[in-house]
Symmetry: C2
Subunit: 192 residues, 2 copies
């Protein structure tokens, strides 16, 4: 059962990445996952229920990505790898970014989705914050850095750059360059 549910949610991510939330048809997700439409309604209740479960699944999938700051040589290297991974060209990263952008845009008009998204966002900001704090301890991040404020600024910048990349306003290499420079200015101990 868990496998079929995961297959449905992976299919829903792919459909949203291709057509957006507004273009998501429950029938198309069912076909892509190779299951009956009735099974989707059985698992998720409504189309909105499917969208919410897809957001959760996209977040879990993103959190499971190895680049999210593990096995790095320092706190700085960890947070840097974690943030730059959001602008990676792996198809799965692009899919997750599109889903995140779609859900962020939809939450403006959907209070329930906003509550769910706030929790997902807090998890993400807190993870970046912990990595920055680790960098302060190992001295790879400047001592006077406000880890919370830096985490909020850097994750917001990633969202802005990611949205511009996906919308075709900025190429991915330039977005990565702008992000890497900002991480360095924001966190690197000053040389003077």
């Amino acid at each position: 059962m868990a496998d079929r549910k995961t297959a449905i949610l992976d299919a829903a991510i792919a459909v949203i990445a291709r057509r957006g939330i507004r273009g998501l048809r429950v029938e198309e997700v069912a076909t892509a996952a190779g299951v009956a439409v009735s099974l989707l309604y059985y698992y998720f209740g409504t189309r909105d229920g499917l969208v919410r479960a897809t957001l959760d699944h996209a977040n879990e999938r993103a959190a499971a990505t190895p680049a999210r700051g593990r096995d790095e040589s320092s706190g700085y290297a960890g947070v840097s790898a974690m943030l730059l991974a959001e602008l990676d060209d792996a198809p799965q990263v692009r899919e997750t970014s599109v889903v995140w952008g779609e859900v962020l845009a939809s939450a403006v008009f959907d209070a329930e989705l906003s509550v769910q998204l706030r929790a997902a966002n807090e998890t993400w900001v807190a993870l970046v914050e912990r990595c920055i704090a680790e960098g302060r301890r190992d001295a790879s991040v400047r001592a006077d850095c406000d880890a919370r404020a830096s985490a909020e600024r850097l994750t917001a910048l990633v969202d802005g750059l990611s949205a511009r990349w996906l919308a075709g306003l900025l190429d991915r290499e330039r977005a990565r360059e702008l992000l890497a420079d900002t991480i360095s200015r924001e966190l690197r101990p000053s040389i003077d």
Copy 2:
């Protein structure tokens, strides 16, 4: 005629701000503007044509906002006022931000919209860049600042913060505080 067209486009901005692009019904815009639906099709051809004209109109309206860097005492004050104005609580600013966010999200799935958006974005980035360059000349901005890169970073951050504010993830005051700090770090001449 220009007045009726403007009234229609103002109504379309208000409808998108309330329901999003996916919730825009041509009939509702016509009712709100007090005109016949046939007149909308006469002016804009299709629903997509109306959406595109609305984006242009929102950009013109935003560019006409007095806070966009005029009458400021220095280049730094100008760019700072211009960027912070995007997180103002005036209803018109919120409306424009929602429209921008919606169009940015939609451009991911619509190549024509992406082209149109690229032009609008370039105008906005170039305006910020010019203000930063002015700040370099009047020494209110650090001499080693790369005006283009800073403009790209700061406008992307504004988009990210704005999206989080509109989606209910971040309160507006906090978003302004994070932005003001970033502008200062990015542009202020260093004291050492």
